[in-house]
């Protein structure tokens, strides 16, 4: 079926066990975007976590960093078939952010500046599996790559790592986010090729 989207070039046929099925390694970091790039200054940036009582837990840029920034080296797998291995990131663990947020709900909707959303199980954001990332490859995260801060959930396809993240809302059911409501998988495990529902 014809489809007017640009492909990504990379090295095919690599038998690297770090590359999930259906993926191709790239060196250059592709930019994917479904809308205009929000320009958010760090002095205006805020992260809000809303629990089921409607209580908002808020962190400014400085308050986020005060929780402790860590180095992360992970492989990234995009549903559009590219993988970028060994990416160096810096960010704050969601374990630290959610440490004092009590919730009985099992799911989370991530919200972004610009209106993007994506759904995740809460357990996939905990136990050292997810971060609010503010740097990549030794530089502050560029706006086109989701700066000043994006969600980083590297064990799932990269559309789950919401660019320009501004909030997380606890939710009782696994409601679909933006791409999920248009046919993309509710979970998105690259090793199981969970691209579509």
């Amino acid at each position: 079926m014809p489809f007017a989207t640009r492909g990504f070039s990379g090295r095919r046929g690599q038998a690297d066990t770090r590359v999930p099925p259906g993926q191709t390694m790239v060196e250059k970091w592709p930019v994917l975007s479904a809308g205009p790039t929000p320009q958010v200054e760090t002095r205006d940036w805020e992260l809000t976590v809303q629990d089921e009582t409607g209580t908002d837990h808020r962190w400014s840029w400085d308050e986020l960093h005060a929780l402790g920034v860590e180095d992360i080296t992970v492989d990234i797998h995009c549903v559009t078939h590219w993988s970028k291995l060994g990416m160096a990131w810096r960010g704050v663990s969601l374990d630290k952010i959610l440490a004092n947020v009590r919730s009985e709900h099992r799911y989370v909707m991530a919200h972004s500046y610009g209106g993007y959303t994506t759904n995740l199980p809460l357990e996939d954001l905990l136990d050292g599996k997810a971060w609010i990332a503010t740097e990549a490859e030794g530089e502050p995260l560029d706006p086109e790559h989701g700066g000043p801060a994006r969600l980083l959930v590297p064990h799932l396809y990269f559309w789950k790592s919401a660019k320009w993240v501004r909030g997380l809302t606890m939710m009782p059911d696994n409601d679909p986010g933006f791409w999920e409501q248009y046919g993309y998988h509710l979970y998105g495990d690259p090793w199981k090729e969970q691209r579509y529902r």
């Binding site: 014809p2 989207t5 640009r6 930019v31 205009p36 791409w179 993309y184």
Partner: protein
């Protein structure tokens, strides 16, 4: 460099669904009410699907995803489409 195209980028995939040229139709944005040819929308192709947004307010008008062997089409952002028959 702009990262979007105009609404004519939808023509190919929509021609697989509709017998008429939807890009020539006038659509009304469900958010701001702007009425304009679909061809004037801003289409973002470098994404997991095609996303067409209102040229006035950025509201999502049309989403097209080829999900394996399925095509998922949303026109939910358009209040109305005015097609010449």
């Amino acid at each position: 460099m702009p990262n979007h195209l105009d609404g004519n980028a939808l023509a190919g995939v929509l021609s697989d669904v509709f017998t008429m040229d939807v890009t020539a139709a006038r659509g009304r944005c469900g958010s701001c009410g702007r009425t304009a040819p679909v061809a004037e929308a801003m289409v973002y192709p470098d994404a997991p699907g095609l996303v067409a947004r209102c040229a006035s307010c950025d509201h999502v008008l049309v989403v097209v995803v080829t999900a394996g062997e399925r095509l998922v089409l949303s026109l939910a952002g358009l209040d109305a489409i005015d097609l010449r028959v």
